[in-house]
């Protein structure tokens, strides 16, 4: 029928999926599927599945397809075929083996990046269809172990990394102390009521990249910002539950985050350089909670930094002089159109800017997004292999002289780091915060 490789050419080595499948029966599958389809989906899903004319034009939209030498089973529509298309046709009467493959496809072979929606003539939203598949898998208890662990952490601690409340505050105070060696009297103001800016970050920042909090504090301080960070849960704006399909938890998390800000009566929320977290507050979480747009002004770090330069609130010593290229993260470019602002910041901070192609809305994904990197080691090799097209794009930018890749998103950092390492690209990765901090002129 097709020359694509058999789907199970590599045995799945994920205990979350394996154990979940063991507990399934055909009756349970049918019941759960029909419950989700009936109560949670409607005309949108039906139209997406029915309208697809099987033309394959979405294929060029997907980096998985391109990275796998145009293997048809990685085209966006093929992912629908392996999931909801069959499920709807068989009215939920599918086998546990089918669900096993569908879970792998939905959780690890789609970054929910929505690039294909710009390639399908009908604008069919494959990412939405994959989210519905994830929702079904979540309800069936078939979720990759590693990402499920982060979802558990979210539900116990309201942060992604099992960070205890006192550890969070300790980390902030530790970063404040460190920064005071550099900037005397620098503060990371906790729970300051009525602040202009409520700064929130993702769980992995205090855990693995605490220096980012340090840098943000130095930048806020230099800008003379009236800002604060919350000491209590609600500080973590990340959301893996959104990606496992646990929408009830997603709602609780977003509520906690918005409420933490609202309780402090702040003017706006500024989020660190993360893409998926932005999607969760600006696109999915707010909608799940019934807000068409976020109930409070929420801006991404790019908007914040851009504003600092436009309003000349910070000064730089000299421009960053190594040649840079810029990676456009899906969740804040296709998700919020921040690509031109990103370029403004690059031009304000860097001497030599080399575009990678394709760019802006058409940039290739880092293959980490959509929770794929959070599915962890069992899927790492497959993920990095799927980054081949991204690697070629980076090599091309490098050939034009770029040495540094700016990626204003945590997920992208994780994904690009693996790609750069695996393919031996030898480029350095940076956040905007890294660059601005490095060249910032500290006020007297």
């Amino acid at each position: 029928m097709t020359e694509s490789k058999a789907v199970k050419d590599t045995a799945i080595d994920d205990q979350g999926i394996i154990k979940g499948i063991e507990q399934l029966s055909p009756e349970k599958i049918e019941r759960v599927i029909n419950q989700v389809l009936k109560s949670e989906t409607g005309a949108r899903l039906k139209t997406y599945v029915d309208t697809c004319v099987h033309c394959g034009l979405c294929s060029d939209g997907c980096h998985y397809f391109l990275a796998h030498d145009r293997d048809p089973k990685y085209s966006p529509a093929a992912k629908v075929k392996q999931t909801l298309w069959e499920i709807i046709r068989k009215k939920g009467k599918v086998t546990p083996e089918f669900i096993e493959n569908a879970a792998v496809v939905a959780y690890t072979q789609c970054n929910l990046c929505k690039r294909c929606a710009m390639y399908c003539p009908f604008g069919l939203d494959i990412a939405y269809v994959m989210s519905v598949m994830r929702r079904i898998c979540h309800k069936l208890g078939v979720v990759p172990l590693y990402i499920q662990d982060t979802a558990h952490s979210h539900s116990v601690t309201k942060n992604q990394m099992w960070i205890k409340d006192d550890e969070w505050v300790d980390t902030l105070m530790w970063q404040e102390e460190e920064a005071q060696d550099e900037v005397e009297n620098l503060r990371i103001p906790l729970d300051k009521e009525g602040a202009d800016v409520f700064y929130s970050v993702i769980g992995p920042e205090p855990k693995f990249r605490a220096q980012l909090i340090y840098q943000a504090a130095v930048i806020m301080n230099a800008a003379g910002e009236n800002w604060t960070m919350p000491s209590m849960p609600g500080w973590d704006n990340s959301d893996m539950c959104m990606y496992t399909g646990d929408y009830e938890m997603m709602e609780r998390l977003k509520k906690a985050h918005f409420e933490a800000a609202a309780n402090l009566k702040v003017k706006k929320i500024v989020m660190g350089e993360c893409g998926h977290a932005f999607r969760s507050v600006y696109d999915m979480g707010n909608r799940a909670l019934g807000w068409k747009m976020p109930p409070l002004e929420v801006i991404h770090a790019i908007e914040y930094y851009n504003d600092l330069f436009v309003k000349e609130k910070i000064k730089i010593k000299k421009k960053f002089d190594r040649p840079v290229t810029l990676h456009d993260p899906c969740n804040i470019v296709r998700g919020r159109g921040l690509h031109e602002m990103s370029r403004n910041i690059v031009n304000a901070t860097c001497k030599n800017f080399i575009e990678m192609t394709p760019n802006r809305e058409h940039n290739y994904c880092c293959v980490a997004g959509g929770g794929v990197i959070n599915c962890g080691p069992p899927f790492k090799n497959a993920r990095v292999d799927s980054g081949k097209i991204k690697a070629e794009q980076l090599f091309a930018a490098k050939a034009k002289g770029a040495e540094v890749v700016i990626a204003p998103c945590h997920n992208c950092h994780g994904g690009l780091e693996d790609i750069i390492h695996h393919y031996g690209i030898d480029m350095e990765l940076k956040f905007f915060g890294d660059i601005i901090y490095e060249i910032l002129e500290l006020p007297e």
């Binding site: 694509s4 309208t51 034009l57 604008g123 068409k292 296709r334």
Partner: protein
């Protein structure tokens, strides 16, 4: 032969139009009410300006990146859809029938042009068939129904071309031509051919999301 002819041009034609219009109206209605009940957000985010912006780009030849990546497909798709609509509406023999039956008439296409446009449709169907068989990513998605639909669309044009040139078996072909046209009409509401009516809504919705929430292009 004559009685079959009057049957296919009389009651059957009426039936075909009724099923086509009624079926399409029914599908719209059921999708609309389902959307009202389950996808309230679609109505919230629909935005006329951005919907039209997106539709405009996708109805402009080479107006999107993907169209530029697949130039042959772009040319064929546009030529195909334009001819597919214009020929049945404006071919002389059809307009005459409207005139005879309802005494209404309108502009007609010159014979040679209509003939060429018919060939474009037939050639395009051949091209789509070729894609379905030869491109792995299209073949992977293709079902038997997809071939059937392609055949349903090509048939009225192949038979019409035959009839116009009055080749052998011309009377039988005429009946087959009418029948195949009616089959196509009836198939529209119940198959993926309905995409012609859903396009503005799916594209428009994605255009609205991209335009007013995501603030990005979707082409």
């Amino acid at each position: 032969m004559h009685s079959i002819y009057s049957f296919v041009t009389g009651p059957l034609a009426w039936l075909a139009f009724i099923v086509f219009i009624g079926g399409s109206a029914f599908r719209f209605y059921s999708l609309y009410s389902l959307a009202r009940k389950k996808d309230a957000l679609v109505f919230e985010y629909m935005n006329l300006k951005f919907a039209l912006r997106s539709i405009g780009h996708w109805l402009t030849p080479f107006g999107t990146r993907n169209m530029n990546l697949n130039p042959a497909m772009t040319v064929v798709t546009f030529a195909f859809h334009i001819c597919l609509f214009l020929v049945p509406l404006f071919v002389f023999a059809h307009v005459i029938m409207w005139k005879e039956s309802f005494n209404i008439s309108w502009f007609t296409l010159p014979g040679v042009l209509a003939d060429l446009m018919t060939l474009v449709v037939i050639f395009s169907c051949g091209f789509f068939l070729y894609r379905r068989i030869m491109l792995p990513e299209v073949r992977y998605l293709t079902t038997a129904v997809d071939y059937l639909i392609l055949f349903i669309v090509a048939a009225p044009f192949i038979t019409g071309f035959w009839v116009y040139h009055q080749w052998a078996g011309f009377p039988t072909m005429t009946i087959l031509h009418i029948l195949s046209g009616e089959i196509m009409l009836v198939a529209i509401p119940f198959t993926k051919l309905f995409h012609m009516f859903l396009f503005p809504f799916t594209r428009g919705y994605m255009g609205s999301e991209f335009g007013s929430v995501r603030m990005a292009k979707d082409w």
